[in-house]
């Protein structure tokens, strides 16, 4: 029955279409490396294999078959690379397996002292079977699997494929293929059309890195739009930079259709940092003349669905306006608010730069006992303003450790301003947050005050001093 369905779908991706048979991949990993070390590592590995892909900072991978045959086996090649890296002052681990996923795991931290881990050809499913499901990048899926009692990739791989597809969707299917030691997605069979590559020329040559990175963001957006229009996404992206004195830098970065334009721009920045060590700007080579982004290994796009809640689609003219302001004032000058959890007024809104993924710092939508109820203040000072609160006798009002107030507040002076008569007040409402972390701990007693000019204030006593945190006006 299942055979009939499989053969009945002529377009179905299967092993024969190149999707299943994973090739031998060697991963060289130096997890603590910065942009510069990572550039050195990539250059060093390029000495053993000319086409090296940077998976992320400090991790690069290449197809192991050819180089291993030349250098006398995978084990020998791995040891050579580790030795060469150690000679250059870089610590690294090497993993070899069928497919990138397993090779990355093999190169991960292990208890064995041997920095080279070789998973023999064909042994990858067995190697993966012992791994816990938490190694899957999709933490939601991993959590779900654990709750269902599926603890290792072996358990997951033992499930029937059609059941996985119908229960866990596209993301689950991709993880399932990984767990079985197959490629996460079948490769697209069509050759990459040339016009998908995008480039920007700089005339006169651009001596500063920042404008190039900025241009990279716009280029990446153009590239993503071009890919999306064809319904494909790329596994890797080739970042090519040319300088006025004729030297080039070209590196492959892992993309998997997941990077945002800002993240692509980050990779361009890393590459520029690494290409001109000690001189982050491109002045060394007489300035940058060309930046080119080339998509590599196209696969059909699985469809990144926009969030149902939360992020709204940004129309083009708003994005242009925001990017123009960012060009004037910097990336962090334009912010988008995200509702977040927390008790203080500052915690309840998280600001993230335009273009980055807005992500609340603390989970919103949960009860946060201790929040001030009632209308929110229209003015929330980023830094609380120092204040002075006195009682009728002119003495400063204090709050004891047991939350008793020394006297009714009668006057409030904000930031050294003239004293305002207090016509109504309530409090103290104690707040003790994160006492387990001395650097983030908050212990204060909060008050609401109304002054004779009709304004209302949210004030607090912290470490014996009054401060105004917000104003209702």
């Amino acid at each position: 029955m299942s055979r009939a369905t499989a053969s009945g779908r002529p377009g179905a991706p299967g092993k024969a279409r190149g999707g299943g048979e994973a090739q031998r991949v060697m991963v060289v990993s130096s997890p603590d490396a910065g942009a510069e070390e990572s550039g050195q590592l990539a250059a060093l590995v390029t000495g053993y294999c000319p086409t090296v892909e940077s998976v992320r900072l400090g991790v690069c991978a290449f197809a192991a078959r050819g180089p291993a045959r030349y250098f006398g086996g995978e084990e020998a090649l791995g040891s050579r690379i580790v030795e060469a890296a150690a000679a250059a002052g870089l610590g690294c681990r090497v993993g070899v397996a069928d497919g990138l996923f397993a090779a990355l795991l093999a190169a991960g931290p292990a208890d064995g002292a041997d920095p080279v881990t070789v998973v023999p050809a064909g042994g990858t499913p067995r190697f993966l079977a012992h791994q816990p499901v938490s190694v899957l990048e999709d933490t939601d899926l991993a959590g779900l699997l654990r709750r269902l009692g599926i603890r290792t990739l072996g358990d997951f791989a033992a499930l029937p494929a059609d059941a996985v597809a119908s229960r866990f969707g596209e993301a689950g299917e991709a993880a399932y293929r990984l767990a079985r030691g197959e490629q996460p997605r079948p490769l697209a069979v069509s050759a990459p059309p040339d016009d998908l590559a995008v480039s920007a020329g700089f005339d006169p040559p651009q001596p500063l890195a920042e404008p190039v990175v900025f241009a990279a963001k716009a280029l990446a957006e153009q590239l993503h739009a071009g890919l999306a229009a064809r319904g494909v996404s790329c596994v890797r992206i080739d970042v090519q930079v040319s300088w006025a004195d004729g030297h080039h830098s070209s590196r492959l970065w892992r993309h998997d259709g997941l990077l945002t334009a800002v993240q692509v721009a980050d990779r361009v920045r890393w590459q520029l940092d690494a290409a001109t060590p000690g001189d982050a700007d491109g002045a060394a080579g007489g300035g940058i003349t060309l930046l080119r982004l080339v998509p590599d290994q196209l696969v059909r796009a699985a469809g990144q669905q926009l969030a149902l809640w939360g992020e709204a689609v940004v129309p083009g003219k708003v994005a242009r306006a925001a990017m123009r302001v960012q060009a004037l004032l910097g990336q962090d000058a334009v912010l988008r608010p995200v509702r977040s959890g927390g008790r203080s007024m500052c915690d309840q809104i998280h600001l993230s730069p335009f273009g980055a993924d807005p992500e609340p710092r603390l989970p919103a939508g949960r009860p946060w006992p201790g929040r001030i109820p009632g209308p929110a203040p229209a003015v929330v000072y980023p830094e609380p303003r120092p204040a002075r609160v006195t009682d009728l006798a002119g003495e400063p009002v204090t709050v004891s450790g047991r939350c008793t107030v020394s006297g009714a507040p009668a006057e409030l002076a904000v930031d050294g301003g003239p004293p305002l008569a207090v016509t109504g007040w309530a409090g103290p409402w104690p707040l003790a947050e994160r006492w387990w972390d001395p650097s983030a701990a908050v212990r204060e007693a909060r008050f609401q005050l109304v002054t004779a000019d009709g304004r209302a204030w949210l004030a607090a006593v912290r470490d014996g001093a009054w401060q105004v945190e917000a104003g209702y006006c």
């Binding site: 306006a321 608010p337 007024m345 009632g374 229209a378 929330v380 107030v405 309530a426 609401q448």
Partner: protein, 228 residues
């Protein structure tokens, strides 16, 4: 104000105007914010956020520039959609360019200018605003603004001497304008009401003592308008 068809105005973003919250319609000429105009309030507070909230809830993008201490939470409670809000807290010295750029993308821009603009630059910005069809809400001074709103009196309720909590604020808002919007209006609003929204309020029963005398002498018909 009703259109011939009998439907209330200002429900959707119109071609010539932006909708406001229902609670503010009575106060504004035409019950809407005319596109391409400048509206001022003396200080940043809940009022400019409330003015922008209606348009934002109807789908407009809102820019908020030069106000570091803007209470985004209060804005969200009013109905200002934070998914369609751009904040630019620090303006720097090239702020006219920043505000113009924001006005190109957003239908409503709230700005607290760090300094008074020279008349020439101001006129240029007004012309750009008319082209883009947005509304500039200035928290500060802007000579020649089309509409000026100011809170003249404010009364918080809910707070006693050592007990209770802030619940709602009744505020008197005075609206003056130039040209066709010249008639001075005023009205009492819950700014905000207990649920954080904006709604018309009854004037308080007792006379509030701190009424500024000059406002009364300058506009003798204030009492008549206040009844409506």
């Amino acid at each position: 104000m009703m259109r011939p068809g009998g439907t209330p105005t200002a429900v959707m973003s119109g071609e010539h105007s932006l909708p406001v919250l229902p609670g503010l319609r009575e106060l504004l000429p035409g019950g809407e914010l005319a596109r391409g105009t400048v509206v001022t309030v003396p200080d940043f507070g809940l009022l400019p956020l409330a003015l922008a909230a209606g348009a934002s809830a109807a789908g407009a993008w809102c820019g908020l520039a030069g106000v570091e201490e803007a209470g985004v939470l209060a804005a969200a409670d009013l109905g200002l959609c934070h998914d369609r809000t751009l904040l630019c807290p620090q303006l720097g010295s090239r702020w006219p360019q920043v505000v113009s750029s924001l006005a190109d993308g957003c239908e409503i821009v709230i700005v607290r200018p760090p300094a008074m603009l020279p008349a020439q630059l101001r006129h240029r910005m007004e012309a750009a605003l008319r082209r883009a069809g947005g509304v500039l809400l200035v928290a500060g001074e802007w000579p020649g603004a089309h509409l000026e709103l100011r809170v003249t009196r404010r009364e918080w309720s809910g707070l006693g001497a050592g007990h209770g909590r802030l619940r709602a604020c009744r505020a008197q808002v005075l609206v003056s304008g130039r040209g066709a919007a010249g008639r001075i209006r005023d009205g009492w609003l819950w700014l905000p009401a207990e649920d954080g929204s904006i709604s018309p309020a009854e004037p308080p029963l007792q006379t509030v003592r701190d009424l500024p005398q000059r406002e009364l002498s300058a506009h003798p018909h204030l009492h008549v308008a206040g009844a409506g």
